[in-house]
């Protein structure tokens, strides 16, 4: 056998190995990504109510969804929720990461604590926060009352604006640990020499932060903001268990509305149309994320 023939045989068997090794994962993901998408698209243009015979509906479902007052409210709520929670999450993550970037007494314990809100199932965090802010016996009311700040208990979850505020706070609570982890990683990757050079140039702590740290973590901050925006736009577990979308529709966000439309109202066609809209917006976000990931960072350059 010639050298080249042998090389080809090896390359061929390696390619074969590659395909069978990725096959289980690819098949699983494809079956549960491509088919569901095709299905959602298909049912979004059809009448699929358990009460009516199936029929073609064209874009009627989309029209019904977009012009619904509940949809517009859900969009508004989602935007308020996202626009309020994302910047605060990023800033709190940045502050916490800055805190952890220097050593202090008890930092290891605090690092483990910070992970807690992230590790707790979101649905359970919602229940925890509902109990904490209960108007009848919640600890938040009790503590404020004992401190003499409020004369009587406040209905945090029964007033629309306050309820939204609590959901936003809870979202920040569950999301900032992950932001902290990512930002801290980026901070620790900044070469020490840059700080030393800045110090020699006479830069104070604040100047070092703005001229060395911030440029060094800019890319990671962008990833955090986009990721958190995605988390905000698609939040479901937390509003479900914290407020159930209420009071009224005050905290009904898009994901929850989509769920309710499909499984409470059993309006699968509208639910599917909503799902497709949601997916399109998310895909746009995903493409934005990819733009921010340095080329070749994930799978490596062509040299391999």
């Amino acid at each position: 056998m010639t050298v080249r023939g042998r090389a080809q045989r090896i390359t061929g068997s390696v390619t074969f190995s590659a395909y069978w090794m990725i096959a289980p994962a690819v098949l699983l993901v494809a079956a549960f990504t491509l088919y569901p998408y095709a299905y959602a698209l298909w049912s979004s243009i059809r009448v699929t109510s358990p009460l009516l015979p199936p029929a073609f509906a064209g874009l009627k479902n989309y029209k019904a969804v977009i012009t619904s007052i509940y949809f517009l409210r859900a969009v508004r709520n989602t935007l308020v929720f996202t626009v309020a929670s994302v910047p605060i999450t990023a800033i709190l993550g940045l502050l916490t990461a800055s805190l952890f970037n220097r050593r202090f007494f008890g930092d290891v314990v605090l690092k483990a604590l910070v992970l807690l809100p992230w590790a707790i199932p979101l649905a359970i965090s919602g229940v925890v926060w509902r109990g904490f802010f209960s108007s009848g016996w919640g600890a938040f009311n009790a503590l404020l009352y004992m401190a003499g700040i409020i004369p009587k208990y406040i209905g945090w979850l029964t007033k629309p604006n306050l309820a939204m505020l609590v959901v936003i706070a809870a979202q920040i609570w569950t999301q900032f640990p992950f932001a902290t982890v990512l930002i801290l990683a980026a901070m620790q990757a900044i070469p020490e020499e840059l700080y030393e050079a800045a110090a020699i140039d006479g830069a104070g702590p604040l100047q070092r932060f703005f001229h060395v740290t911030l440029p060094g973590i800019r890319a990671m901050l962008a990833i955090v903001v986009i990721f958190e925006t995605l988390m905000g736009l698609t939040a479901f577990d937390l509003p479900y268990t914290l407020t159930g979308g209420g009071p009224g529709t005050a905290t009904t966000v898009i994901s929850y509305y989509t769920w309710a439309e499909s499984f409470k109202m059993l309006n699968f066609g509208n639910g599917a149309a909503l799902a497709v809209l949601l997916a399109v917006v998310s895909l746009a976000m995903i493409l934005a994320i990819i733009q921010f990931i340095p080329k070749g960072a994930l799978i490596g350059g062509e040299e391999r």
């Binding site: 390619t15 190995s17 990725i22 994962a25 993901v29 483990a112 925890v128 109990g131």
Partner: protein, 295 residues
């Protein structure tokens, strides 16, 4: 050294505020689980007037009805059998999460190795489709997933949950393992190939033993995601045969017959696995992610 003092003061003040923000809601839950109902509902609040009790936990595990519940509630019993499902729900969640972890370790490392080391057509697009597929919101997939599971006649079985959670966790596992495998020294693998090892044999004999910490980390991460998942659990499970912890806790918490004390005790029980896993997950996974992602 006034500046040093200032920074130290800000550091400790920040650390304290952070600890309060994180712990306050949780502390209330842990405390409420051992407080008598009368203390929780007291106004002005006096949480420790009747001491602490283990009646809530006793009821969940043995069915022994807390005395306070019978004595104080004349109109309704303020107690529900539903909370007694919590231990079983924890078991369901643990079984499913463990199975998902195993699937992730096997299927994930099989797929990650070719992505990390081998050359084949359409590698980059396949990798991107797999890793990005999970960023699509779950609720958009809810109806089709339900119909797939229904058609496979897997409704209300562990298999359905294991299947779906594997699909949800695999992309992330593959991403992290690919990054990690790529970071391993290539020379040993090349030597193995020269000795006639196929890629699969190289993976099993060389790469997996070397990457064991990362494999454990991603496995644990998949475990935690499965343990936490709510939406599909709500959708696919129909009875306590398979209901997972987040699903049961959600219904318990909305049940007006369940006191906050009982709900709190249920939450505390459900959080034990999470609390035990937080540090190992951090040690194995987050560091792996950080090491791989930043380079």
């Amino acid at each position: 050294m006034t500046r040093g003092w200032g920074i130290r003061l800000v550091t400790y003040l920040g650390a304290m505020l952070l600890a309060i923000f994180i712990l306050a809601p949780l502390a209330w839950v842990f405390l409420s689980g051992v407080l008598p109902e009368a203390s929780i509902l007291s106004f002005p609040p006096d949480w420790f007037q009747y001491g602490l009790m283990d009646a809530n936990y006793k009821y969940i595990f043995t069915g022994e009805i807390p005395r306070g519940a019978v004595a104080t509630a004349t109109l309704r019993t303020m107690i529900s059998q539903e909370v007694r499902l919590v231990p079983r729900a924890v078991l369901n969640s643990l079984v499913v999460a463990f199975a998902v972890m195993i699937v992730n370790c096997i299927v994930g490392s099989l797929a990650a190795y070719p992505f990390a080391r081998l050359r084949f057509a359409a590698k980059t697009p396949i990798f991107f489709i797999i890793t990005m597929s999970r960023l699509i919101p779950a609720v958009a997939l809810a109806i089709p997933y339900y119909l797939i599971v229904q058609r496979l006649e897997l409704l209300d079985t562990y298999w359905a949950l294991i299947l779906i959670y594997s699909v949800l966790t695999l992309p992330f596992t593959i991403l992290i393992l690919t990054l990690y495998f790529r970071g391993l020294p290539e020379e040993i693998e090349e030597a193995a190939q020269l000795d006639g090892c196929s890629p699969f044999q190289t993976l099993i004999r060389i790469v997996v033993p070397l990457a064991l910490p990362s494999l454990i980390g991603t496995g644990l991460f998949a475990f935690m995601l499965s343990y936490s998942e709510f939406l599909f659990g709500l959708l696919i499970t129909q009875s306590i045969k398979t209901r997972t912890l987040p699903v049961i806790l959600s219904t318990v918490s909305w049940n007006p017959d369940v006191t906050w004390g009982l709900t709190s005790a249920s939450i505390t029980i459900g959080l034990i696995p999470t609390l035990l896993l937080v540090v190992p997950v951090w040690r194995y996974m987050v560091r792996g992610l950080v090491a791989g992602g930043v380079q």
